[in-house]
């Protein structure tokens, strides 16, 4: 997600009015997706309340796998492809792609964390006596660093870019500057995602 935006261009690479101007008539938060998010969250609450191993496992593994997979796929595959596309095409892609990410990613994150905590309690990994406990603490730190970057840098810039793109005359220099932030922070979150994979597979194997 991060690099998809980051690759849209450097400072000044987006002209004030691109030749093939993409539509500015897009929703920053896709309203039609909200009921789906609501259903998923109700399912998450049901899984936690019922404390069923399968349900907790499902929410944690499915959401966590998608979170990690989407981050790596978009960063390593979509980002470089976008980088080779014409500027109007990049902007057009971003205006369709990023609003969906604003719904998908926070939903995956809350499902992963809430179900993961309950799962760790269920299987006894939360107690300091558990051999997996140090790995869990390591995962808290990894997720913590990712959260600071995602919530403090990536998400605010994402939102600012989307609002800028909705203006009749978007400021190309501003968009380029905001997107540059992603280049640096995406590398750190990518490394963190690899660390998450190592920790989680290690915990699951013991």
């Amino acid at each position: 997600m991060a690099e998809a935006i980051a690759e849209v261009g450097g400072p000044g690479s987006i002209p004030a009015r691109p030749a093939a101007e993409p539509s500015r008539d897009f929703q920053i938060i896709p309203i039609r997706g909200l009921p789906i998010v609501g259903v998923i969250l109700v399912g998450l609450v049901a899984a936690i309340a019922s404390n069923q191993l399968w349900a907790l496992d499902f929410f944690h593994v499915a959401a966590g796998g998608l979170w990690t997979g989407i981050d790596l796929f978009v960063g390593l595959i979509i980002g470089p492809i976008l980088g080779g596309m014409p500027v109007p095409a990049r902007v057009a892609f971003s205006t369709r792609f990023m609003p969906k990410m604003l719904l998908v990613m926070p939903t995956l994150v809350v499902c992963t964390l809430a179900a993961g905590w309950q799962l760790a309690r269920y299987v006894g990994n939360l107690t300091p006596a558990s051999p997996n406990h140090p790995w869990l603490v390591a995962s808290y730190i990894v997720v913590g660093v990712m959260a600071v970057i995602a919530l403090g840098v990536l998400e605010p810039a994402n939102l600012a870019v989307l609002f800028e793109l909705k203006k009749p005359n978007p400021n190309g220099e501003l968009i380029g500057r905001l997107m540059k932030r992603f280049v640096y922070s995406a590398g750190i979150t990518g490394l963190m995602q690899v660390a998450t994979l190592v920790i989680m597979t290690r915990v699951a194997s013991r």
Binding site: L41, V45, W117, V137, I141, V148, G152, P156, L159, A160
Partner: protein, 138 residues
């Protein structure tokens, strides 16, 4: 008619201070999470929480000072929806901890940390959008 957005130099660093608040709250959360369900000294977490509350208050005060140089309408528009979303997320996390039997002073500290989290992030998001928007006339 609207005027051009205020230059960055004239606005307080709400986003940077907010990022520090996120780091403080998460550090406190990691400390708590690493020790639960054991009873531990809450002093380090209390310190982190107090510092984060002070910084959020600083952000609020410094934003209020730039009254006429800021796109308040956009700030409130983004902020209220973001607040709704983060209240749902914080509520979900609170629910898990309550369900797991977290009680007493630990629950109070945890609730306050989630409250700071739920207020701070919408403020960063709303500020990040509003700072680049035209300032509406009074």
């Amino acid at each position: 008619m609207s005027t051009a957005p205020s230059p960055r130099a004239k606005l307080p660093p709400v986003d940077r201070v907010g990022a520090v608040v996120i780091a403080l709250v998460i550090a406190g959360g990691i400390d708590l999470g690493a020790h639960l369900p054991q009873k531990i000294s809450l002093a380090p977490v209390d310190l982190l929480l107090a510092a984060s509350i002070l910084l959020v208050a600083y952000n609020v005060v410094s934003l209020l000072r730039v009254r006429d140089r800021f796109a308040w309408r956009m700030f409130l528009r983004v902020g209220r929806w973001a607040l709704l979303a983060y209240l749902v997320i914080a509520g979900m996390l609170e629910y898990v901890f309550v369900l797991d039997g977290t009680r007493g002073s630990t629950l109070v500290v945890l609730t306050l940390m989630l409250a700071v989290f739920a207020v701070n992030i919408p403020m960063i998001l709303a500020y990040s959008v509003a700072r680049y928007q035209p300032v509406e006339p009074a």
